[in-house]
Symmetry: C2
């Protein structure tokens, strides 16, 4: 596959994230309210305003949920129509008036998140975290090579790129402390992930192949994590408040159709998977990922580079497993891949791993970091690299704000 | 507080679940589509059809979410108006035509569940389960006396009373097995809980007192649980598919206002709570609860009797804790109390506890039960008992259907 040319020249420029091959979906506000858009070159097209050939009801709300629910035939028809409108010079005049410069718009949540599930499915990440907490010999939990381990997260805390993230308060208790205390998180972290978005829902068990067909597209996802809150709360029922402050997603839904040329296999299996989890073909994607960290007032430095192909389980496998109990899935469900780490030290998807549990701080733009500091701006980048073109996601960014002042009602009374 | 009399005589009958003091909210279908209703005596009143005195937009959808979002002043106004309409004989003629016999209606989900959180907050339950799995000395996790332990459940799997529940498939691996297998759950269980419904949402941290004021009402809740799926999957990130088959709620939202006369204190604390979790007054309720089990074709037998006052943490404390990280809460969020067990052997809220991990089967209507069998009908009952009246919840019931036949794509290929 090579570059498809658009009459919009910026879409054909080398390195452009949004060529005609991409056509990712978002929601933008150019000053007149939220609208559904598709990114092309350095612009966004107001999709509802052009001759899209579909039922206008699909564009009634500024959110992609209705289109997602309409299913794969509608997804294919819309993509083909937008290719025609933006690729064929005959439509230039009619379409141009509905283009707006990306630099002048605010980007909103591209869809309403129904429920949010997060997984733990990169082997290097699970091995790193397990080694830090339990030692190298017990790094991987016994079920890890058999189950795409997942847990339910909090949909209400999912925000779009650009939203500030306030450092959380929580119950903290270190291994040496006698009792827990209520304090701001001191080990605030990122998690580099890819999010898969369920387009069409399901009732009952769904095969890996059918699960793959349900996925509308992907976003970059940063699952902000309070490691000290997590350490004290997570036994026996898993992370809860440690993961409920915010999860940031990139503003553009990159469709499964745009990523199709970049399919790659999951890695060789050390232990055979049960038949229900086996894949009929390659279901991961070759997507380069990186993490940038800019301390307040300093330049950004890339602190990690990895690839989505490092995953042990694909989103299709995760979604299939999600349905085994009969769990209904719905349009707008968001599945986080789990933190994506590669084998190398420079390919780790969390500061927990980069600083090895805080013991080996990294240097970022001249300052030391074990975990995130107030004022840090964290940005995830991602792109699939084609033959003379790239499929970009747009940045997934957020700045850490200081914790709120302590509310009076949380304070210890003086004791005698 | 004593019985408030209605002109509808069935509401004044001894033992009636729905006297004028109660006025629980539900959604019913008498054959002409779903409508918002309030239960009174042996009838349901079509609330949208009477002179309720509120904005008609609150009744546009057959769901209580809009009323809940409107806040405590609207809740109080509606309750006062319904008391007047159903209590004052002057309204009998105008109101009677909008009453329908409960026996002739289908009851639907009373509200749209935004997100579902489940807790682990009955001390007897946590102690029983901990003793079964880890022995009496390590029964309570170290954090249990400090944190209302919770995890996110799956909102899409919440169903209304009367819905059948199909035995799930899942990955199972017993302690003696070499490898996991994909099979129907063999240890399917109930969990007797009370569900608290968030009426008004929040951003940022909320005190226990403010959290209490956000709660619109309560339902009975059965969190169906696959113990064998849970045993293999739940480390390290908590239960996932074990809890995603179904959660059944009773059809009537019993309001916090109706339950106000039944407030009781949480129990004495063995370990001081952090100040943020301390309660300004009694925030539990004295609600008698019981569990009935009817094997297929046999009579129902009550297998457990307990009380909501057995909880160690109230719903207000749980909701407060839920917000500490800054987690936004929304109208329609559902918080399960966690399984409610009392101190006695006859007061256990799950078969896991009643049969002590399956080792001591109980006898139900002449048959043995360690866990649920296909065809079993399970029903939760609950009521607060006042002076000459009771505040009932309506039954919370479901029948266990056999697992679906095994799909071809989950089968082991023949190996040589």
């Amino acid at each position: 596959m090579s570059l498809k040319k658009s009459w919009l020249e910026s879409a054909n420029a080398p390195g452009c994230e949004f060529p005609l091959n991409n056509l990712p979906y978002g929601v933008f506000d150019a000053g007149a309210g939220a609208r559904m858009g598709v990114a092309i070159g350095d612009c966004v097209l107001d999709v509802a305003a052009v001759d899209h050939g579909l039922d206008a009801a699909l564009f009634a709300d500024p959110s992609w949920n209705a289109v997602m629910a309409a299913g794969p035939e509608v997804w294919a028809a819309l993509r083909a129509r937008l290719m025609e409108l933006l690729g064929n010079d005959a439509h230039r005049d009619a379409v141009s008036e509905h283009l707006v410069a990306l630099s002048g718009v605010a980007l909103k949540m591209p869809f309403a998140v129904s429920e949010y599930t997060d997984f733990y499915a990169s082997r290097h990440h699970a091995t790193n975290v397990g080694t830090i907490f339990r030692g190298a010999e017990n790094a991987l939990p016994p079920n890890w090579l058999s189950i795409p381990i997942g847990y339910n997260g909090r949909a209400s805390s999912v925000v779009v790129s650009g939203s500030d993230v306030r450092r959380p308060w929580g119950q903290l208790k270190g291994p040496q402390d006698d009792a827990p205390r209520f304090a701001p998180c001191a080990r605030f972290d990122l998690e580099l992930e890819l999010g898969a978005i369920v387009g069409t829902g399901s009732e009952g068990m769904v095969s890996v192949a059918d699960a793959d067909a349900m996925i509308f597209g992907y976003v970059l996802l940063n699952d902000w994590s309070a490691r000290d809150i997590q350490a004290w709360e997570y036994q026996p029922l898993g992370p809860f408040q440690a993961k409920a402050t915010a999860t940031t997603i990139s503003p553009w839904i990159v469709t499964a159709a745009a990523l199709a040329p970049f399919r790659v296999d999951t890695p060789a299996r050390e232990r055979d998977l049960l038949p229900y989890l086996r894949e009929p073909g390659p279901m991961l994607y070759d997507i380069s990922l990186s993490v940038g960290l800019a301390p307040e007032g300093a330049d950004e430095q890339i602190i990690s580079r990895t690839n989505y192909s490092e995953m042990y389980y694909s989103a299709a496998q995760q979604l299939c497993h999600h349905t085994t109990s009969g769990c209904p899935m719905r349009t707008g469900d968001l599945l986080g891949s789990g933190t994506i780490s590669g084998a190398d030290q420079g390919a780790r998807g969390s500061l927990l791993e980069m600083s090895w549990g805080g013991k080996e701080p990294i240097t970022v733009s001249g300052t030391q970091r074990s975990f995130l500091e107030d004022g840090d701006t964290l940005t995830l980048y991602g792109a699939a690299e084609g033959d003379g073109y790239r499929i970009g996601f747009g940045a997934c960014t957020g700045t850490v704000l200081p914790a709120t002042p302590q509310p009076e009602w949380t304070k210890q009374e003086s004791t005698t």
